[in-house]
């Protein structure tokens, strides 16, 4: 009897979580859609002219900026994360791994404002000094994001590598493969779907990150033409402008949020599909 009640309550809680998600979705779409329809899908997505108080709602520059920082962070973060994962999963004594893996996961819990702060005081001056430009840039944002997604990708990749049956590794070694050959030719291919899932979740994290990006990206609203240009992402725009926006401007921000939401949903669903396929 008592268990029945507990079970009911838990089911209710589970459904309420889904309910909240549904509510958010409905809310964002309800708020955002009208302005898209008003401006026209084409002008909304494919115009870089963003002057919402004057009736221009083009978010192309932001989309490109968001994609650029995400892509940059993946290009820099993935090789590093994979190197970390392989080292930890394959070369690190198990007793050390028990200690190191939670440490890495702890990195994921550091508030993003801290990363942004480090970026501003350490990274941005270095870029300004040695590479030129304002320092606050696409490059700075990509590097900070690369560091931020490192723990996620590393940790999930370690799990994926460790889930590869030992038999595969033994089979390779028993044929005379070196440890590296076994990793490169057998273990990583076998762990592929897990690793790809990790990368996609990292992408979702990068594209959705706000605070750290605002702090180091410079936030100039234009399509970047070099790595050293400042950029303003979807998330930055929403966070920076929501406070004072009103009317159509406010709705346009919701519309931008809607696009972001669609990106992240798509990535998450893709990651889930891949995980299930395994």
């Amino acid at each position: 009897m008592k268990e029945k009640i507990i079970e009911k309550i838990l089911t209710l809680l589970a459904f309420s979580a889904i309910g909240v998600l549904l509510l958010i979705t409905v809310f964002i779409f309800k708020e955002g859609l009208p302005v898209i329809l008003k401006a026209g899908i084409k002008d909304f997505l494919f115009s870089a002219k963003w002057a919402p108080t004057k009736g221009h709602f083009g978010i192309l520059a932001m989309i490109i900026s968001s994609l650029a920082v995400t892509f940059g962070s993946i290009v820099m973060g993935v090789p590093l994360a994979l190197a970390c994962a392989v080292t930890l999963a394959e070369f690190c004594p198990p007793r050390l791994l028990v200690f190191l893996k939670p440490t890495i996961e702890l990195l994921a819990g550091i508030p993003s404002v801290v990363f942004g702060f480090l970026g501003v005081i350490l990274l941005v001056p270095i870029i300004r000094e040695y590479l030129g430009g304002p320092g606050l840039s696409l490059l700075a944002a990509s590097i900070i994001l690369a560091i931020m997604i490192l723990p996620t990708i590393t940790s999930i990749s370690i799990d994926a590598i460790q889930a590869v049956p030992l038999l595969y590794k033994e089979g390779a070694l028993a044929m005379g493969a070196t440890h590296w050959q076994a990793i490169w030719l057998v273990i990583l291919p076998a762990a592929r779907s897990g690793v790809v899932t990790a990368i996609i979740l990292g992408m979702a994290r990068a594209i959705g990150e706000t605070m750290a990006v605002i702090m180091v990206a410079g936030n100039a609203l234009k399509i970047p033409s070099s790595l050293l240009d400042p950029v303003r992402t979807l998330t930055s725009t929403i966070a920076l402008e929501m406070g004072y926006s009103a009317g159509d401007h406010r709705t346009a921000l919701f519309a931008a949020g809607m696009i972001l939401f669609i990106f992240i949903m798509a990535l998450t669903i893709l990651a889930n599909l891949l995980m299930r396929k395994k």
Partner: protein
């Protein structure tokens, strides 16, 4: 000269002695079977022959294993070369999660012997898969994942990998225990064919299997090699009472 000569081999897992002064000779191009109750050290002994035991922490090995005329435990032994010559087939078929073709050419690839022209790969696959009786079935499916095959076929692909590498010795650790009787029978007849070109050492729980396919048999108990000799003799006129007890089913 025997293909494999084991000389007073001791092995310790930490402080536990799993092999006790094993001395034996395995003949070339012969099937030698190792039998004995569970935990007696058959797998351990087998894995000494390609030094797969080296991977285990806290292991200590003393004594000699000569393959050809080389002591594989001598310092400076090239493990990669050793494992190229001494292949291993595992209890659970473990083809790599790659295509059938990639599995077959894997050995040549890691040893830097794979010709760069892809056309020649098919020829390699032809020879190796023919040797294990799979060419006709698989010739149009070389690009498919090896994991899509039946267990028996997977085990054959694992053997084909070794054939392609032109190893001289094949170690088999209960290669049929994951297979049904039909598949077992087929793998056994494959082993009899392979004997023409390979020295085979097989660990098996299945005494009928040892009797059917091997020329020589070793009976192990608690880390000792109790008795070793021609298979017929081991199964009909064992010299040691403990062997007799085992083959008449008193240990299970």
């Amino acid at each position: 000269m025997p293909a494999i000569a084991i000389n007073n081999l001791d092995l310790y897992y930490g402080s536990f002695q799993a092999l006790k002064g094993i001395t034996s000779f395995f003949k070339e191009k012969t099937i030698t079977a190792l039998i004995g109750p569970s935990g007696c050290g058959k797998s351990t002994l087998l894995r000494c022959l390609n030094r797969m035991n080296d991977l285990i922490d806290g292991i200590r090995i003393e004594g000699q294993v000569l393959i050809g005329d080389k002591d594989i435990y001598a310092p400076g032994t090239d493990l990669i070369q050793l494992r190229k010559e001494v292949g291993m087939v595992f209890q659970r078929p473990n083809p790599f999660p790659l295509s059938i073709l990639e599995n077959v050419i894997f050995g040549l690839k890691i040893h830097g012997q794979l010709p760069s022209e892809k056309k020649k790969w098919e020829k390699i696959a032809f020879r190796a898969l023919s040797a294990v009786g799979l060419w006709e079935t698989l010739k149009d499916r070389l690009k498919e994942s090896a994991l899509s095959l039946t267990l028996e076929q997977q085990q054959r692909v694992c053997i084909a990998r070794i054939v392609a590498l032109q190893s001289r010795i094949v170690l088999m650790d209960e290669p049929c225990s994951a297979l049904d009787p039909m598949a077992t029978e087929k793998i056994e007849s494959l082993m009899l064919n392979l004997k023409e070109n390979f020295t085979i050492v097989i660990v098996t729980h299945n005494m009928q299997q040892a009797a059917r396919i091997s020329e020589e048999t070793g009976f192990m108990l608690l880390g000792d090699l109790i008795e070793f000799g021609p298979t017929g003799q081991i199964f009909t006129k064992p010299q040691d009472d403990r062997t007799n007890d085992y083959i008449t089913g008193r240990y299970g």
